[in-house]
């Protein structure tokens, strides 16, 4: 049971990361690879604030706020300097690596002596509340005029222009919110594991994408609202399966491969299922 709870908790922390990636990867259709730098960025920011005496809740919020700056940087790089978004994200990640080291002057910061956001009660419950709040806010946002324009930007920029709006503005908003969420996730992880380390971001993009992909395979009835739910469920499932692998005492050397295989299995299932669906529904859907 305890292990299930650990996996659930980690899944909840990563679900915020997944919701952030949802905005860039799925909605805006922009590959933002800066997450590997933004995730620890949030953690290092948290460490800085908590070490100068700011309370854990405010420190965590500030990590979100400053985290949005990473999105600002990436967007500036690809709009003002006309660098490809993919490359822009990598550049931001590279810059953040140095920034992270500079924030506290060290690559590893123990947090054992500081308070954390989980002190006030059950970690699981607190995480559940945080994730629900984030989800609800995000869902509400995506139902606003601005939110819909963000979706339209990812769908068809020509439409956004014809509505008299600048699509770049919405890419900026999307990237800022996304990176803020990734940084928030990093700050929550730091408090959870008890320390901040510069290697925290390694392979994090795999976790995020895996969560989104797994979430997509769950029951195909989709509205934009459900996408956030799917990201959450996907992250939790991914972590639970990983946790089971560890608990079964599987060969430690195979751990990384297993995580990759999980993703592949779900993608394959996804493809197989949609092929079946297309085959079945060929008659009904396409006629005028």
């Amino acid at each position: 049971m305890k292990l299930l709870i650990t996996s659930l908790e980690q899944g909840l922390i990563f679900s915020i990361l997944a919701m952030g990636m949802l905005i860039t990867y799925k909605i805006l259709d922009v590959s933002d690879l800066s997450v590997e730098g933004t995730f620890p960025f949030g953690a290092f920011l948290f460490a800085r604030f908590i070490s100068i005496g700011v309370n854990p809740i405010l420190s965590t919020l500030l990590a979100f706020v400053f985290g949005t700056m990473a999105g600002l940087l990436t967007t500036t790089l690809f709009t003002k300097l006309k660098i490809r978004p993919l490359l822009a994200g990598i550049l931001t990640m590279t810059i953040l690596y140095s920034v992270n080291l500079k924030i506290n002057g060290k690559s590893n910061i123990p947090l054992f002596s500081y308070r954390s956001i989980y002190d006030s009660g059950s970690t699981l419950l607190i995480l559940l509340i945080i994730v629900l709040v984030v989800k609800i806010l995000l869902d509400l946002f995506l139902k606003t005029e601005t939110g819909y324009l963000l979706i339209a930007t990812g769908d068809n920029e020509a439409l956004v222009k014809s509505l008299g709006e600048n699509s770049t503005k919405y890419k900026l908003i999307g990237l800022m919110i996304a990176n803020g969420l990734v940084a928030l996730s990093g700050a929550l992880m730091a408090q959870y594991q008890g320390f901040v380390d510069i290697t925290m971001g390694a392979s994090i993009i795999v976790v995020a994408l895996a969560s989104i992909i797994i979430g997509d395979t769950i029951k195909k009835k989709s509205t934009w609202l459900k996408n956030t739910t799917r990201a959450i469920i996907g992250a939790i499932i991914y972590k639970i399966i990983g946790g089971i692998a560890i608990d079964l005492g599987l060969n430690p050397n195979d751990l990384r491969a297993i995580n990759a295989i999980i993703v592949i299995v779900f993608i394959a299932y996804n493809n197989a299922a949609s092929n079946l669906f297309r085959f079945k529904g060929k008659g009904g859907v396409q006629n005028a």
Binding site: I151, A152, A158, L159, S162, G164, A288
Partner: protein, 255 residues
């Protein structure tokens, strides 16, 4: 009313391949009427439309829309006054959103977008009324995602979305060219109904001469960036246009 004065545009400037499209071009489009622009490929009709909409910037010249100098405005700023339907049915809509959501977006054009709920339930009867005019049954599919609609349905929706806020100018950019003949006919007649009903100032680019005559008030033919034919639609027949067109072609061959 749209008034274009002394328009000049060339591509690949200062190179061996410099292409002059327009040179001191002038054109006045009447209000509340539909003007068709036809011509062979490369005559400049698409370029003209792009210059009017702002996708391309002119080198010189003035573009006045109802006393507003729009020539200096960016494409998105002009879009508030101009509605455009593209040839590609997917360009005028957001495929992953529903019909209702798409129309709600179009409904907000010119009013500014903010952190308010987009879909206004009170406007739904209005949307249904607009969709009913199309006779395509779309009014029953408000919650269907646009990506599941056919090309003709999407184009009809694009038309409504472009016209919904009564733009000062409606641009139809070969908007039925990608549809099959039957659907094309349906969309064209619906287009005519719409522009007649709301008396919209419209420029329609067409590659189909019969459509140009049947559905417009005035026909203009361009050739190499110049107006070579300008007649009221009732004063000319399809055969006359074809003869004229052929003679122009012979001219080119002889050159």
């Amino acid at each position: 009313m749209l008034k274009i004065t002394k328009l000049s545009k060339s591509f690949n400037k200062e190179s061996d391949n410099e292409l002059h499209i327009f040179n001191d071009f002038n054109l006045e489009i009447e209000e509340n009427k539909c003007t068709a622009i036809i011509g062979p490929n490369g005559c400049g009709k698409s370029t003209l439309l792009n210059i009017i909409s702002g996708s391309i910037m002119a080198d010189q010249g003035e573009i006045m829309l109802d006393e507003n100098d729009i020539g200096k405005l960016s494409e998105e700023k002009r879009a508030i006054h101009i509605g455009r339907v593209h040839q590609d049915p997917s360009m005028g809509v957001s495929p992953s959103l529903t019909i209702l959501e798409n129309m709600s977006l179009a409904d907000k054009k010119g009013e500014g977008f903010a952190l308010r709920k987009l879909v206004n339930k009170k406007r739904i009867p209005k949307y249904i009324e607009l969709l009913k005019d199309l006779d395509l049954g779309l009014e029953d599919k408000l919650d269907t995602k646009v990506k599941f609609l056919s090309g003709g349905q999407r184009q009809s929706l694009s038309l409504i979305m472009a016209a919904m806020k009564f733009p000062d100018l409606l641009l139809l950019d070969e908007h039925t060219a990608a549809l099959d003949p039957k659907t094309s006919h349906v969309v064209m007649s619906k287009t005519k109904e719409l522009i007649d009903k709301y008396k919209m100032t419209t420029i329609m680019i067409s590659h189909n001469m019969k459509d140009a005559i049947d559905y417009s008030d005035r026909v203009i033919m361009l050739d190499k960036g110049e107006i070579v034919l300008d007649k009221a639609s009732k004063d000319i027949t399809e055969d006359e246009i074809m003869d004229f067109y052929r003679s122009k072609l012979d001219e080119h061959l002889l050159q």
